[in-house]
């Protein structure tokens, strides 16, 4: 099946990091990162805890300021218009103190003013049909994450950033989110996600970026990474050994 190309106001890809550093307080979180994220790819950002995976995603989303280096989206510097074409799903979903449908309406009113019928369609896509009137914060962990995913889909983003979207989820929610990721990618969207689940990374990712201590140690296609990782750190990580 050939991939359709997503036609947005701007194409955000390829995303290019050039000697990019992010420092929080005195600590270097991302250290002179150089990498490139291809158009229409699904990139898994892997690495041990504290490697800087979440900050990596949040930097792309503009949540952290860059101390040095450059981050380009199809040769453009990050700006509000570029950020509006991204959607981020956080590891711990932040939901508004409203009903499920009101959470979606907030985004819809903010951006594209979708009809309630379409919002309900998206809800059914994430398996939350019939939950419209339920207070969002009363949902289970999996349901919250699926609502968070629905919120991201309403934006109809060019670039979808997922920070451990399936951590601690039941198999149903996990499969549903993975299917959504593949579906969104099949319509030409670029997806970057972080995970500790190696089998998930193998299932979904076309490319892998391996981070350790804020540095990109490897960037390659997924199959190559899992078959023959170049660095000792990546080998240890895949084998479940502790990285010092």
């Amino acid at each position: 099946m050939s991939k359709k190309t997503f036609v947005g106001p701007h194409d955000l890809t390829p995303i290019q990091f050039k000697d990019l550093s992010v420092i929080l307080g005195q600590k270097i979180i991302l250290d002179k990162i150089n990498c490139k994220i291809k158009s229409n790819s699904i990139t898994a950002v892997l690495g041990p805890n504290g490697a800087g995976k979440s900050i990596f995603l949040q930097t792309i989303n503009g949540l952290f300021s860059i101390q040095s280096g450059r981050l380009n989206f199809n040769l453009m510097e990050i700006n509000q218009e570029i950020r509006k074409q991204q959607a981020m799903v956080f590891q711990n979903p932040v939901l508004l103190r409203r009903t499920v449908i009101a959470n979606l309406q907030f985004i819809s009113n903010l951006r594209n003013k979708e009809s309630n019928r379409l919002l309900k369609k998206i809800l059914s896509k994430v398996g939350l049909e019939g939950y419209e009137k339920k207070p969002a914060r009363l949902l289970s962990g999996g349901e919250k994450q699926r609502l968070s995913m629905a919120r991201a889909l309403i934006i109809n983003p060019n670039l979808l950033l997922l920070d451990e979207p399936t951590a601690n989820l039941d198999p149903y929610s996990l499969k549903l989110i993975e299917d959504l990721v593949l579906e969104e990618n099949s319509i030409g969207k670029t997806i970057i996600f972080t995970t500790h689940d190696m089998s998930q990374a193998k299932r979904l990712a076309t490319d892998v970026i391996f981070l350790n201590k804020g540095k990109v140690l490897e960037q390659t296609i997924s199959k190559t990474f899992f078959k023959s990782p170049k660095t000792l750190e990546a080998q240890k990580y895949i084998n479940g050994e502790i990285l010092i």
């Binding site: 949040q58 503009g62 932040v94 914060r137």
Partner: protein
């Protein structure tokens, strides 16, 4: 002791026989307090929210200023407003001295710091939770302020109650700028002060009972709403 019991008896009679004077005073009190609260909220809620979510140089100084203003002595506010709106004052031409409008202005000066400070504290907590999401979604400030106020609506009710409590129980400022004129600017608190000084305890007590009842009813409604909101995890 008998005098006190007699006063209680008379006060209940005044309330239950729907005494016209009593209800005129009551209605004016509610009107003045309601409008001063309404206008204070109109200014104070967005300002408090803005201070909670926007980092700028001098923000802490502004917050300290409003926190300090929460303890403003009402008589001082009354005196300042009096000087401003008295015939020889800069706003004397408005001709609002000894009118309910002057009382509303004086009460607003007392309530706005309460609304601003408590709103800022309330919204700051929600802001810690929402800020990454709102920044990620590129929510403009004016829409963020509305969203914060909406999502904090049950907590904001407590803020409003604090403002209303200050307004309805206030005497020092309204007696100076209102003049406690019968059938014009006489409100519950100024009547209580006047009638107590005259030794007419029954009317003073009746108004006291009504004041307490209002506080009780509003608190009851508020707590019921908050319990309902808590069950739905809206607070």
């Amino acid at each position: 002791m008998n005098i006190l019991l007699e006063a209680f008896k008379q006060s209940f009679e005044l309330v239950f026989t729907l005494n016209a004077d009593l209800f005129e005073i009551l209605l004016l009190s509610l009107k003045v307090s309601f409008f001063s609260l309404f206008f204070s909220c109109l200014l104070g809620l967005p300002l408090g929210t803005f201070l909670a979510i926007k980092n700028f140089w001098g923000r802490d100084i502004v917050l300290i200023f409003f926190n300090t203003m929460m303890g403003l002595p009402p008589v001082v506010v009354g005196l300042i407003v009096y000087l401003l709106i008295s015939r020889s004052g800069p706003f004397g031409w408005l001709g609002i001295l000894y009118t309910p409008t002057a009382m509303i202005i004086a009460q607003m000066i007392l309530i706005i710091p309460i609304i601003v400070s408590l709103t800022a504290q309330t919204i700051e907590d929600i802001h810690q939770e929402y800020k990454s999401l709102f920044y990620s979604l590129v929510v403009p400030y004016h829409k963020a302020i509305i969203a914060y106020l909406f999502d904090a609506r049950y907590l904001i009710l407590t803020v409003m109650l604090a403002g209303f409590g200050r307004a309805i129980s206030e005497v020092g400022a309204v007696i100076i700028v209102g003049g406690n004129i019968d059938h014009l600017t006489r409100v519950m608190t100024t009547t209580i002060a006047l009638e107590t000084s005259k030794g007419n305890l029954s009317l003073a007590l009746a108004l006291g009972i009504i004041l307490l009842s209002i506080a009780l009813i509003t608190n009851f409604i508020l707590i019921s709403l908050k319990i309902r909101a808590k069950r739905r995890m809206y607070v």
